[in-house]
């Protein structure tokens, strides 16, 4: 009996499900990446935070889990653009932490980004509405 040559249709179906999930995952990653800058600035709206706190909030509030080493270059770029400011603070933890806060131009920018994001999301929502309750 040659097992290799017989194709189990259940195997094929399983592979297809995995492939579809991977494609969807890729698309989700792209969408989230597009919102990353807005998410980081929005997280800083109420208070100053340090890098690891920003990463944790991204993960817990927005489900955006990014490699940890990439948050600092992003913050450094935002600083170069004048959107955020940073300062070293001697913490109780026994080592200094670098805190980031929004600057005034940063606040203006995140407001504009939020407006544009909401307008986009509302438009998309209208396009998705016909799908609700339609069994097609």
């Amino acid at each position: 009996m040659n097992i290799k040559s017989t194709r189990d249709p259940r195997d094929e179906a399983r592979k297809q499900i995995v492939r579809r999930a991977q494609e969807l995952g890729k698309w989700e990653t792209e969408v989230r990446k597009g919102g990353l800058g807005l998410a980081v600035l929005a997280i800083l709206w109420p208070e100053r935070l340090y890098g690891l706190e920003i990463l944790r909030r991204l993960d817990s509030d927005a489900g955006m889990s990014i490699p940890e080493g990439t948050i600092y270059p992003l913050l450094s770029r935002m600083k170069a653009e004048g959107l955020v400011d940073s300062e070293w603070v001697e913490a109780d933890a026994g080592h200094p932490r670098k805190y980031y806060r929004l600057t005034d131009p940063g606040r203006r920018r995140v407001r504009e980004m939020a407006q544009s994001w909401r307008a986009f999301a509302q438009g998309l929502e209208r396009l998705l509405a016909p799908m609700d309750g339609d069994p097609k």
């Binding site: 990446k33 890098g51 080493g69 990439t70 600092y72 270059p73 450094s76 170069a80």
Partner: protein
């Protein structure tokens, strides 16, 4: 004991990151390294054991990768501010040591600007050194020959044949400018490519 070993492990990692960050000014590299150190220590609950340090480092990425994220982003920010050929070339040179493509882009850029400069210099010198500046074709024996561009010695000038005469001036200026422009565009393209590749690993 384990505390010390953990800290030593962290220091080794940070030293490696610093080595890859050499193209940055020292103060900026110090800042990046200090922030990474603070990040790793914040991730520790209590004693930093080698195992905990290892886990934190794995989450951050390898030294070369972390340096690549930082340098690529910084160079892109600089080039967004100022797209002049010198800034682009400096950016390319900074990233050359961090990836195979970076090394390739560095090589092409230096060769491109080098050849462009040779054409321009030859064209500029021609009016003052009529018989020594130009494009020379010199027989090397066995039917082969070599081409030499630039300002050459009397001996070589007498052995070889000058190909362009006064035409070296318009041709040298034209070729030099076009090649320089192409190299500049290639540099901008390469920086965009390397940034996209660094961002892809961010997703």
């Amino acid at each position: 004991m384990s505390n010390k070993a953990g800290m030593a492990h962290l220091d080794t990692y940070l030293d490696q990151v610093r080595r890859y960050l050499k193209p940055l000014p020292k103060s900026e590299a110090d800042e990046v390294v200090a922030e990474l150190r603070s990040h790793v220590l914040d991730r520790m609950a209590g004693q930093p054991t080698p195992g905990q340090v290892e886990a934190a480092i794995a989450a951050l990425g390898g030294p070369r990768e972390v340096a690549r994220f930082n340098l690529t982003e910084r160079v892109s920010a600089e080039v967004d501010e100022d797209r002049s050929p010198l800034t682009v070339l400096r950016g390319i040179a900074r990233l050359a040591g961090l990836s195979l493509y970076g090394a390739f882009a560095g090589l092409v850029s230096f060769a491109g600007y080098g050849i462009a400069a040779s054409f321009l210099i030859t064209a500029a010198v021609k009016p003052f050194a009529r018989s020594n500046a130009g494009l020379w074709r010199t027989p090397e024996g066995g039917g082969s020959y070599s081409l030499a561009l630039g300002v050459t010695s009397h001996v070589r000038a007498h052995q070889g044949q000058e190909l362009l005469g006064w035409w070296i001036i318009p041709i040298g200026v034209g070729v030099g400018l076009i090649l320089g422009w192409l190299t500049w565009r290639f540099g901008l393209f390469s920086l965009r490519l390397m940034r996209r590749s660094a961002q892809r690993s961010r997703a």
